[in-house]
């Protein structure tokens, strides 16, 4: 299916396979810390083992340390301890400087964002609002984030209910979404590809399935996608999709969902204007197939217990037409 490339284990959600400059720098820092720590560990444990092996008391010998060692030996010991202390201080200083350098490089990105996306966390889905100086050009893309490769993107983070955390492991570290306290983060994706993001702060029953798809694409393709999102929803072309729209507008859907170009303007659930074109469903917890869409519309809590979306009691014909309509909203 459309998400075939996202099978587990290919680095779509791995901080060790960076696809952007932030994650790459964090990975490098992790590598430096792990390398230095490994060398120190081997040296310390090696020396301890060596000392144990060399200085083992022979039978009949007093094993207690010498109370008054020879002055020459004492001086040599003190010198070794001093040298090792300086080496330790230098190592820690080096690691601290590496940390500062990483932070500095990331902070430098903050100064020149080329795109701003407002991220709102909900129980349990993500809303991505692409900012624009012209209000009529602002669009939302729930649970699916498209980013232009090589461009610096700023994220303004907000929460609708409880604390969530915004995390795209291949692109950047985590940042919390705190209700009533706006935060922000900046990143630059470099490698074109499809990745996963994930809520990284426990936020309730469906925290584990609160994911989103991240599509990093060449800037020209991204621009075309964004322009397509700004268009109102497609008009239903067939008899079935026309009936489906009537079911949508006449049923409980419109209380929470919006479809641009129709009277449906609910803001409680995800905007469905282009739901048929999305790669995944239900906060990227289900593949974006018609089959899954049908089951989701029919009985959402059966798949994700606790979600606000109630089950619907539509006749099979109504359900079929409704799903046809939703799938046609590319």
């Amino acid at each position: 299916m459309k998400l075939a490339g996202l099978a587990a284990g290919n680095g779509a959600q791995s901080a060790l396979h960076p696809a952007g400059v932030n994650a790459a720098r964090i990975r490098d820092l992790l590598g430096a810390y792990t390398g230095v720590a490994a060398v120190v560990f081997v040296l310390v444990v090696g020396c301890a083992l060596l000392a144990l092996a060399r200085r083992r008391a022979r039978p009949g010998e007093d094993s207690a340390p010498q109370r008054h060692p020879a002055p020459a030996r004492e001086r040599r010991t003190v010198r070794i301890v001093e040298a090792l202390s300086v080496l330790t201080a230098l190592t820690l200083l080096g690691l601290t400087l590496a940390d500062f350098r990483t932070r500095h490089a990331m902070a430098a990105l903050d100064a020149r964002p080329e795109l701003t996306v407002k991220v709102t966390g909900h129980q349990w889905w993500w809303d991505f609002e692409y900012q624009d100086p012209r209000p009529d050009r602002i669009v939302t893309s729930p649970n699916e984030l498209h980013l232009p490769a090589g461009r610096v993107v700023r994220f303004d983070l907000a929460s609708h209910d409880v604390i969530h955390s915004f995390w795209i492991p291949t692109l950047h570290g985590k940042k919390d979404l705190v209700p009533g306290d706006p935060t922000s983060t900046t990143l630059r994706p470099d490698r074109v590809g499809t990745y996963y993001g994930q809520c990284a702060e426990f936020c309730g029953m469906q925290h584990a399935t609160m994911r989103f798809v991240v599509v990093v694409e060449p800037p020209d393709r991204f621009a075309r996608w964004l322009e397509a999102q700004r268009a109102p929803a497609a008009e239903p072309a067939t008899a079935s999709t026309q009936r489906g729209r009537a079911v949508f507008l006449g049923g409980p859907c419109v209380l929470c969902h919006a479809v641009a170009g129709t009277p449906a303007a609910g803001r409680l659930g995800p905007d469905l204007s282009h739901v048929g074109g999305r790669l995944a469903l239900a906060s990227a917890s289900l593949p974006g197939t018609r089959d899954h869409l049908t089951r989701w519309v029919e009985n959402a809590p059966a798949t994700r217990p606790g979600v606000m979306m109630p089950p619907t009691a539509l006749s099979s014909r109504d359900l079929d037409d409704l799903v046809n309509y939703l799938a046609s909203l590319k």
């Binding site: 006449g250 049923g251 109630p310 089950p311 619907t312 009691a313």
Partner: protein
Amino acid sequence: MRAAGLALAVLVLVLGGCERETRDLAPPAHAVATVATVRAHRLTPGPDSALVPGRSAADRGLVEHAVQNSYAVSQGKQLFQKYNCTGCHSAGGGGMGPALMDDRWLYGSSPDSIYRSITAGRVNGMPAFGPRLAQADAWRLVAYVRSLSGLVAQDVAPGRNDAMKANPPENTINPPRRVVVSAPPPAATASHVGTP
């Protein structure tokens, strides 16, 4: 022996809270409004009959569950805000619509009456939400509306607010001594009709 007694006491205390929090996470599919047309039930004030005619036993179970369940009440509290009930009823004190936190009920305080007010609407402005509202959500709203005037058990009513709110949490409301069903105000109906 003492340990067994203690364990029993703890068990009683712990299990005593079970029903209160049982979460209806996957309401049955039938728990959804299939009302396609608006049916106005009563056009004049006064309580409705005890039960909505034709309701199945499963539905009655749903009602029993919703109006005595802490989770349902707090979900209803969220929906009350989100579905903009506050637009007319304010935070319960009333505005364009009647107050819900007092002990005066134009159409009776029974869950069934409130359910019908929500789904079928009432004269003088209460819209019918039946075709739009999932039935399970409607019952959650019923449960919350009843908690506003202290009609649900104190341990079931919400104990806190998610945001700043003018009135104290619902579980601090004293249950009213009696439920007053107001007689139809003589000129009220007529005077409201012309002023939407």
